[in-house]
């Protein structure tokens, strides 16, 4: 069960790097939130973990990552009439190549670092998600896709804290709080403000600051 979920998660990573349609991005982010919810259920030991912590984790994954953020992103995209990511710098083939290299390297790295304290498969998926998120931020040109890259990176970090397990609830809780606060600020304050100042949310318009 756990392995199936992780494989679906990795497939969403491949898809999210290659796609160009904003609505697909948003759906994939929602799917990842739901997947994280199921991984957390399968992975966490319900006897050891405190009930309040458990509710906190579930609310974060299912409610926040799975529903609220995608809903807000959809509204934002509709309001600004953003449908397509324009001008990715390379073709889709290159993107698939890059993401495959990332996944293979993460797998090799996780195997090299293999210790009994962590779950190796989740660890592979999380490292891949961190690097895929970074790849999206580097490759894409819209503010919305940058935010999506950041959210993918955040999902990766959340997975690492899950792979550590229940012995360290402070790590998971802190990760969640950080995630919620920065996402709200990123989307609520900055992107909202930017959609008023710059039309179309193009990152290439942010070029006033030069040497």
């Amino acid at each position: 069960m756990e392995i199936t979920l992780i494989i679906i998660f990795i497939l969403t990573l491949v898809y999210v790097v290659t796609t160009g349609r904003i609505s697909t991005y948003i759906n994939l982010i929602a799917l990842q939130g739901v997947l994280l919810f199921f991984i957390a259920i399968v992975k966490l030991d319900f006897k050891e973990i405190h009930i309040s912590n458990l509710i906190f984790i579930l609310a974060e994954t299912l409610l926040f990552k799975g529903v609220i953020v995608p809903y807000y992103l959809k509204n934002l995209a509709k309001k600004n009439k953003v449908t397509y990511e324009t001008e990715p710098d390379t073709t889709n083939f290159n993107a698939i190549l890059k993401v495959s290299v990332i996944i293979v390297l993460s797998f090799l790295m996780a195997n090299k670092l293999h210790f009994h304290a962590i779950d190796i498969i989740i660890f592979t998926a999380s490292i891949s998600a961190i690097f895929c998120g970074a790849l999206i931020v580097i490759r894409r040109k819209k503010v919305l896709t940058h935010v999506i890259g950041y959210l993918v990176l955040e999902n990766g970090i959340f997975l690492i804290s899950l792979s550590i397990g229940t012995e360290m609830p402070i790590a998971i809780n802190l990760c969640i709080l950080f995630d919620i606060i920065t996402t709200i600020l990123l989307l609520g304050v900055f992107v909202n403000e930017m959609s008023k100042v710059y039309k179309g949310l193009e990152i290439t318009k942010l070029n006033n600051l030069k040497d």
Binding site: M168, A171, F178, T182, L186, L206, D211
Partner: protein, 477 residues
């Protein structure tokens, strides 16, 4: 612990109250209790120095030393922020946002210095990012928005990467059944942890926090932030945030230095990072006309020097600390004085700036003095630290570091000298009528900061030197 909780709740209470007051002078008056609390926190830390407050806070000599730097800069910055606000017409709401963000920034920077739990340290650093973004967006202009967005976005990614580093330490700790990550517990366990995990953790942490201290690879957003923010905010970024970023990296450094294998490896990494930063700073300044960016790149260069000094060990630790403190004071006073220059000319376009010495001789003397000091000329405290650094490199026969470093520093100095001397003595490309001379009250903080640096440079107080030596006593020689 209770005292610290009271301090932070009072700060938040002050910030919340500020939004309900519609008189600007009363809003500014809120700074008085805040500064009082900051001084009290400093004294509290001095009294409890060397004690383990509890598992979350840890106060050592270095925290007290750097906290004093932050407190001095807080006084100067708040002084200039009030002058800045008096020069322009702003709504009380904007002032409330700015003043409360400044208070939160200073209190969070103090929090980084005294936190003894890696997760708490990380949380404080993230909080400084949030406050900084509000401060950079002060002007509500496109330029400041762009800088704030870039700073916030890249800082969030950097801090997220640093969090991955902390998670790696947790994983390494779980291998030996140590589920806690407060510094004093980790100190017992680090020698038995797997070095490979800790190496990866250090790389992630250094990359993530490089955005705070302002070194390669993530220094670029720092430059933009200092360019777009008001100058007194640039001063606290250059002076205070460098100290805070250094402290964050230093916490991990002192922790990992307990393992001999990691210690030599970390020094190499710090050396490479420092050299790269100096290289970038020297190359980028070749084509810059904007003084704010010039000062920001100079900060990158000095942060690089600090990391190189740290990597040398032994005398290098002292050099790093002296350099850090003196650089904070000099750079902050330069930023404050440039605020006055821009006000005098009513522009920050360097085409209109020139002949400053004739227009305002007192301000000119301050710029000239600070300029000589930032080049580490003798009355400056930087002279001592750079002398120790170069002597250590010389004695170690590190020619491959020493020669490129000196060449790059010379390039940097030449760039700075050309721009500064042009500003002081050459006529501008286009002359513009200036409003008035600098008010003498506006230069008091700069003079005090520069005198402090001179004091460290000419006759360093013996107690301070012993204090610094004791602060780095526990590190390997």
């Amino acid at each position: 612990m209770d005292a610290l909780i009271i301090y932070y709740s009072l700060v938040f209470f002050l910030c919340a109250c500020m939004y309900f007051i519609k008189y600007k002078s009363i809003q500014h008056a809120f700074f008085i209790p805040f500064l009082g609390m900051q001084v009290w926190l400093n004294i509290f830390c001095y009294q409890h120095m060397g004690e383990e407050v509890d598992e979350y806070f840890r106060i050592d000599r270095l925290s007290v030393l750097f906290m004093s730097v932050i407190t001095i800069l807080a006084f100067a910055t708040i002084f200039h922020s009030i002058i800045f606000a008096s020069r322009r017409k702003e709504t009380y709401k904007m002032i409330a946002i700015h003043d409360s963000a400044l208070m939160i920034l200073i209190s969070m920077m103090s929090g980084v210095l005294i936190s003894g739990h890696l997760a708490l340290l990380w949380a404080f650093l993230e909080a400084t990012t949030l406050a900084s973004a509000m401060l950079i967006y002060r002007d509500r202009s496109k330029k400041s928005f762009e800088a704030a967005w870039k700073y916030f976005f890249v800082c969030s990614i950097g801090v997220a990467l640093a969090f991955v580093g902390i998670l790696f330490i947790v994983i390494a700790g779980q291998e030996i059944k140590n589920p806690d990550i407060n510094i004093s517990t980790l100190m017992k366990f680090v020698p038995s942890m797997e070095p490979l995990w800790l190496k990866i953790a250090f790389i992630f942490v250094l990359t993530g926090f490089s955005v705070k201290i302002g070194v390669a690879p993530l220094f670029t957003v720092d430059i933009d932030a200092k360019d777009a923010a008001p100058l007194h905010i640039g001063a606290i970024f250059s002076g205070g945030m460098t100290v805070v970023g250094f402290m964050a990296i230093f916490r991990f450094y002192e922790l990992f230095s307990l393992s001999p294998e990691l210690y030599t490896w970390m020094n190499k990494v710090l050396l490479i990072t420092g050299m790269l930063s100096i290289l970038f700073a020297a190359v980028y300044t070749l084509k810059i006309n904007n003084f704010k960016r010039m000062l920001a790149y100079s900060s990158v260069e000095h942060a690089g020097i600090i990391l190189i000094a740290l990597s040398l060990g032994h005398f290098g630790y002292m050099a790093a600390i002296i350099h850090l403190i003196c650089h904070s004071f000099i750079k902050a006073s330069l930023f404050y004085q440039f605020g006055n220059i821009y006000w005098l000319h009513r522009t920050d376009d360097s085409a209109f700036l020139g002949n400053y010495f004739r227009k305002d001789s007192v301000g000119g003397i301050i710029i000239l003095l600070a300029f000589f000091m930032i080049l580490a000329m003798p009355p400056s405290g930087l002279c001592i630290s750079e002398f120790i650094l170069i002597k250590s490199l010389f004695l170690n026969n590190d020619w491959f570091v020493l020669v490129p470093m000196l060449v790059l520093l010379t390039v940097m100095f030449a760039n700075l000298a050309k721009r500064f001397l042009d500003l002081l003595f050459m006529p501008p490309k286009e002359e513009r009528v200036t409003r008035r001379r600098t008010n003498y009250i506006e230069i008091i903080p700069q003079v005090i900061l520069l005198l402090l640096v001179m004091w460290i440079g000419i006759d360093p107080p013996a107690q301070l030197m012993v204090f610094m030596q004791d602060a780095v006593m526990h590190l390997p020689r």
